[in-house]
Symmetry: C2
Subunit: 229 residues, 2 copies
């Protein structure tokens, strides 16, 4: 039994959900409300963040990067899907872009949008809850433009973001963009190449689970689940 402790609007969890689905690994998704800081959860991952992958026997893998590498090392050898290239230099490029989205895009865009627009709705007034700080939202909306242009630039010169084959780089990028897209904060009209690349990722069967996610009391933007937006 494989279990993923996740949150529907955590982009790092979404990345690992996509990877699990691409590899065809059946996993139980168990929602973790990280803000509650459950002692049992902190014992699994002292960083207190999703995703955490539980695999048999008694294996705990915390964090998006480590979970992606673990899934590749343990499951890809036995399957036909490969989300990491075999060549160390090509792997370095996939890892650079995984880090770009999981760290840089997260710090500049997705953490602000998700925290301000979603997390704060579920926090009490003494925990930082309340309406979104629109200065933070505006900063994230400004930052996302350069990321979208970078994706468009990569997509114009390569078949997929890191090279000839679809890889973790595409899944990480799409996972983070999908959270911003739920909130209606991706200016798709500004970069046709980025949009066309996203349509290709979003159309994959692995994406269906993400497109069905809903946040309590907050519907997704109209384009969110539309494959022809």
């Amino acid at each position: 039994m494989t279990i993923l402790l996740y949150h529907p609007m955590c982009p790092h969890s979404r990345f690992i959900r996509l990877a699990l689905s691409e590899y065809g690994i059946e996993a139980d998704l168990v929602e973790e409300k990280v803000q509650e800081r459950r002692p049992d959860f902190l014992a699994l991952n002292p960083a207190g963040a999703t995703p955490v992958l539980l695999d048999e026997p008694d294996i705990v893998v915390s964090g998006a990067g480590p979970a992606a590498e673990y899934l590749h090392e343990v499951y890809a050898a036995s399957g036909s899907v490969r989300l990491m290239p075999d060549n160390p230099v090509e792997r370095a490029e996939v890892r650079r872009l995984m880090d770009w989205f999981n760290t840089k895009f997260f710090a500049e865009v997705s953490t602000w949008l998700v925290h301000e627009k979603i997390t704060r709705r579920f926090l009490g007034p003494h925990e930082g809850g309340g309406g979104p700080d629109m200065d933070a939202v505006r900063a994230a909306r400004a930052n996302i433009r350069s990321h979208l242009n970078y994706i468009g630039w990569l997509a114009a010169k390569r078949n997929w973001l890191a090279g000839d084959e679809m890889s973790y780089a595409d899944l990480a990028a799409a996972a983070h963009l999908s959270c911003a897209d739920y909130l209606g904060d991706v200016p798709w009209a500004e970069n046709e190449n980025a949009k066309n690349w996203y349509v290709r990722v979003k159309s994959r069967p692995s994406f269906r689970g993400l497109l069905g996610d809903r946040v309590l009391g907050m519907n997704p933007a109209p384009v969110y689940a539309d494959l022809d937006f």
Copy 2:
């Protein structure tokens, strides 16, 4: 020829310098002033950050995590030093702790100390230069305590931070701590286990280069290069 574009006070660069030295790889260290945003440097790494590893022929590996994985994949197979375990579950633990220090410790501690106390000395008044914002420094000094306790807790139950053998987890942790230590901001007296673990890493020949680093016009704290502090 292997070249590392680095900055003396960049903890991510220090991590890769330690790795190169542990593997016995001769590399030319070339200082990069990232705040100048040289076009040639941005062409190598659009993220605009150190470290960037240049290897023959025409190989560019950007970022601490990708560089560490690349060095392991390309050089460890032919040598006796292994900074990543062979078992995927043990590797996941090394990667979790690498990320802990390269992302979490950096965001909560080292980026603030280095930016406020060092980087801002070399920026003009319109670039955010000036004296340190002591609120940011105090926040970093408060945050470092929980990290030091976590290191002490790990060091008490394991031989090295991630398990029986020294690994990238130890080098990443020591690299980030060494920057805070240069600035005199590690409260060593608070955790004997953490201090004893750091003495072991700091005493390794790979650490000598770091202990010789100096920032223009700013001497290190007295304990910095002292192996018996």
